[in-house]
Symmetry: C2
Subunit: 319 residues, 2 copies
């Protein structure tokens, strides 16, 4: 049931108040915090900001599924790394590969197929895969308070973008349904593409060669490439997002940068500095100095996930 209280899954507190104040001012032409519609640009990191990334990024699980499939076709691979680590679900070994190497594995094992075929493969996997620890489909590992926040921002004239370290085509495969964010509002890591002709029809084929790893400062450069202006609102959760949060917080005029702290071992997971695929360390130390509002999952969120099988609270229509 809809409620008249905006952001119902957010507890009263400094984070919710900061969001309501910022958005309230943005739409009030009499306020010094007013923003023209063209400037209402909000960016969200993805893994750990919009959906669960622990104990392993869901995309890494998708890449692992592909490695396991390849090992089935060629059993000799079972004893080789990185296949063995994924077959054994050996998290320290998988984490040890690091963010870029895991992404690169995805690039290599999904190369040589068309962009459209990749999208179909990702969509099919997400439709059936279960999260290894949460006992829910990966598609239901999105955070309810963030779904409410995305919709709330759009209702107030903001354009909402996902700026992911993950592969852009992976996130585009479900962002429209999961977040109400169209494919062209997703910025992410990417490979080089080749235009091939099949039966006289041009198809885009994914190459194994990286085009951009969208982490750290690259997020700022890719925001500039895709959007051409500085966002006024940014939400992240790790050191990979610090440059983007700082870039957003540092502009003139009204702005709001938020950093999600995973401190809720009861309802989700509690981790920060030691999670080395996507650590929250320097960003936690420097948040106050950069004017970044820290959001405590434990204190600021009344709920973390939607009820199992509940319809997602994402309004239809263009963001």
């Amino acid at each position: 049931m809809p409620t008249s209280r905006p952001l119902p899954s957010w507890n009263d507190g400094p984070a919710r108040a900061a969001i309501l104040d910022f958005v309230g001012a943005a739409v009030d032409p009499a306020s010094p915090g007013y923003l023209r519609p063209a400037d209402r640009i909000a960016v969200f990191a993805h893994d750990g900001t919009l959906w669960c990334e622990y104990p392993l990024a869901i995309e890494a699980q998708f890449i692992g599924a592909r490695l396991i499939q390849l090992a089935r076709q060629d059993p000799a691979l079972r004893q080789r790394q990185p296949f063995k680590a994924f077959l054994d679900e050996d998290l320290p070994k998988i984490h040890g590969l690091g963010f870029r190497a895991i992404l690169q594995l995805g690039f290599v094992t999904h190369a040589g197929i068309t962009m459209d075929d990749f999208t179909r493969r990702a969509t099919a996997w997400i439709a059936t895969a279960m999260h290894p620890a949460l006992e829910r489909p990966v598609g239901e590992c999105t955070y309810l308070p963030q779904l409410e926040l995305l919709a709330f921002l759009r209702r107030h004239g903001f354009a909402t973008f996902v700026v992911t370290g993950g592969a852009v085509n992976f996130v585009r495969a479900f962002a429209p349904d999961a977040y109400g964010v169209p494919a062209h509002h997703v910025i992410g890591s990417s490979v080089k593409l080749q235009v091939d002709l099949h039966d006289d029809v041009a198809e885009l084929v994914k190459l194994a060669e990286p085009n951009s790893f969208n982490d750290g400062e690259a997020k700022v450069r890719n925001i500039a490439l895709h959007l051409g202006l500085r966002p006024v609102f940014a939400f992240g959760n790790s050191d990979h997002d610090l440059a983007m949060l700082r870039y957003t917080a540092g502009g003139r005029g009204p702005r709001l940068a938020l950093l999600l702290h995973h401190d809720d071992g009861a309802r989700e997971f509690a981790y920060d500095r030691e999670f080395y695929l996507n650590p929250l360390d320097e960003a936690l130390d420097r948040a106050a100095a950069f004017g970044i509002q820290v959001v405590s999952m434990r204190q600021d969120w009344a709920a973390v996930f939607s009820e199992r099988g509940a319809p997602a609270p994402i309004p239809d229509g263009r963001p």
Copy 2:
């Protein structure tokens, strides 16, 4: 005055009929030509498709103004190329540089400044510059029938994008006002960017190094990078657009690809195969084979430009 006839500046004929049929079907759930809103993606080339590019691309005029400025600061440059060609308005010499070299000149002479400063510089120039042949401000060299078409598409749920061979930041400086297309719906040629800190605020500085020349097949790859899906509607005017038109026309389901032919020496200019900055040659020969509808400026457009000083017929709001 608004009229009840859609696309009032388009004459009855095959081009207008193709557009009305395509859009009418796209929004009719009972039609085989129906398109889900998420698939209603329209892309337009820029120079020569949305505004005049003859006898010289307007951006080349902007770059020339910068060269002339530099030559004023250092008169020794006046006798050197390419400065001399721009100072003498020597069109054959300027054309002889070629598309990429002129763009590269713009990259070099506008490097080392922030993206925001570049935008201010471009905006200020466009606000006062006159077209050398049309006796109207460059900002009024946009084509009235295309402004109507952009608005018509958006009223029917299409997201409209500009895919320009020109510098993305140049076109972003005026696309929101001129076309109702927000900055993040402009894809173009780009330079590499560097994140610099000034007084602890992160700024994006333009480097002289090209990131992408957005012509030919690169337009297809950049559409894939930015949009993640195949457009259903494309409008171009030159061989630089052939790959994009072919990519759009070649997908499954309903689609419409259009090619503007500059055959109107009375109201604009008549040129095609010999205009070697942006020739229309191979695309004209192959249009029929690829299912591309040729639009005759002379026959299909009832008007080319808005009346001088008339308010632009672009609706406000998000595309």
